[in-house]
């Protein structure tokens, strides 16, 4: 009786190991079913999902105009003080009235956690998340970015 159980145990063990090895052997002989993804070096053809949160960028149109009014809603929404908006007063050439506008939109990428709250908070849709993913630089100061392009101004009609 003892011997029978002993042999049964050994047989069961060999069988279970063979089942596992069969699966390993299957993948050893079916190379096409193995999925190995390489690091995405194919920058030109790589398509990331449009919602992928890489970094915050400001949308500029072809006339170098953006939609940021400098309302600081994104600055208040940010949990990490990633965004700092420095405003100035533009003088309208025709009416002579002073109008608030952004001077620099400072964005600290090193503090950003890509939570998307600033994009949600923006009332004019001036900023969005870009699909970049390689942010390594040699110096920390390079991570502090100015999002509005030089010479850009607010699009007419955006309040």
């Amino acid at each position: 009786m003892f011997l029978k159980k002993y042999i049964q145990d050994i047989w069961g063990a060999v069988k279970s190991l063979a089942t596992g090895m069969k699966r390993t052997g299957y993948y050893f002989t079916h190379h096409k079913e193995i999925i190995t993804q390489q690091y995405p070096d194919n920058r030109d053809t790589l398509v990331l999902p449009e919602r992928f949160k890489g970094e915050v960028v400001m949308i500029h149109d072809e006339n170098n105009e953006h939609a940021c009014t400098g309302c600081t809603a994104c600055e208040l929404a940010c949990p990490n003080a990633t965004i700092k908006i420095i405003t100035k007063f533009d003088v309208d050439a025709e009416t002579g009235k002073k109008k608030k506008a952004i001077d620099t939109f400072v964005y600290h990428l090193e503090l950003c956690t890509m939570c998307n709250l600033c994009v949600e908070a923006c009332p004019t849709g001036a900023i969005k998340m870009a699909q970049t993913f390689e942010h390594s630089v040699f110096d920390r100061s390079q991570l502090t970015k100015t999002l509005n392009k030089p010479g850009s101004k607010i699009r007419a009609g955006v309040e």
């Binding site: 279970s16 190991l17 089942t19 596992g20 999925i35 940010c78 949990p79 709250l117």
Partner: protein, 371 residues
Amino acid sequence: MFEEVGTTTEGDLIINMGPQHPATHGVLHLVVTLNGETIKNVEPHLGYIHRSIEKMCESLTYRQFIYVTSRMDYLSAHINNHACAMCVEKGLQLEVPPRAQVIRVLMDELTRIASHELWWGAMAMDLGAFTPFFHAFRERESINDIMEETCGARLTMNYMVPGGVMHDLHPNFQRRVKDFLQLYKSKVHEYDEMVTGNVIFQNRMKGVGIISAEDAISYGCTGPVARGSGVSCDVRKHYPYEIYDKLQFDEILETGCDSFARYMVRVREMNQSISIIEQLIDNIPEGDFQAKTKAVLKLPKGEFYSKAETARGELGVYIVSEGGTTPYRIKFRSPGFSNLSILNRMAKGGKIGDLIAAMGTLDLVIPDIDR
């Protein structure tokens, strides 16, 4: 009730396991007192990844603090965010639209599968089997791709907001989830072939790491750890939130009390999550994905508590509000911390080799323990 710390006598060996040990899955530091190969005492030393998340949350508004909780139990980030969003909604007495509820449950269950997949691979790797890790990551990868498309991130999504979810579902979501279900079903038998039925695996798991039902209750264990000891504690069943009371699923209970029972609970739980997704994927109601909320959220003065079932157990969120825009005090009842506290009781008297296997079945995520 709690175990006394074992006294060290001459001839005992004290070894430090971790904080950078490959089998502790993070910066867990265990001070193990050994007599030969027998464990006399295990003492976890915490604090290596303490970021004071609870204190941080006190200076953030009710919209902002949710993203931080993704960094606690990063493997069930959605469910952490979900519990926080539910607590804020309870304070605001906000009704979540039915579409948002379904999206939330779908995301929770996908997260649960992804978390259990990773645990399954890491668990097998703890025992010396390297191949299952890659098999588990194959399926997990397709869940991550679904998350990336809809939420914009693969791990720390920040998808739940008070009142609903941040974006609507991606147009490809249903098709990709159906593809994943098909993939999972065609591959799930490999799990049993490679690991569950394996004689070496079974001998190392069965009868090891015993947690009795009484111990599981008195140490506050929840989730698969308690359910492996036959303690019914699924928050989704006992205190249903969102639409869980309308869904057909079983609470998995095993009565083995050992490591193998906890293993089986998780493997069977994945199938239950698959069945929940199947029930919902074709029945996502139309409508808003986010309730209308004010720009600045202010909770009324009072105390609010909500809980959710993460992949590791019961996560409780307790908010004390003084009526302002930021919480006065936040407390998270994390499942990992309670599950870790039983480690000494479980491992004492066992062998050092079994400590790794038994600890693997607790499914510890260290940032969840330290917060």
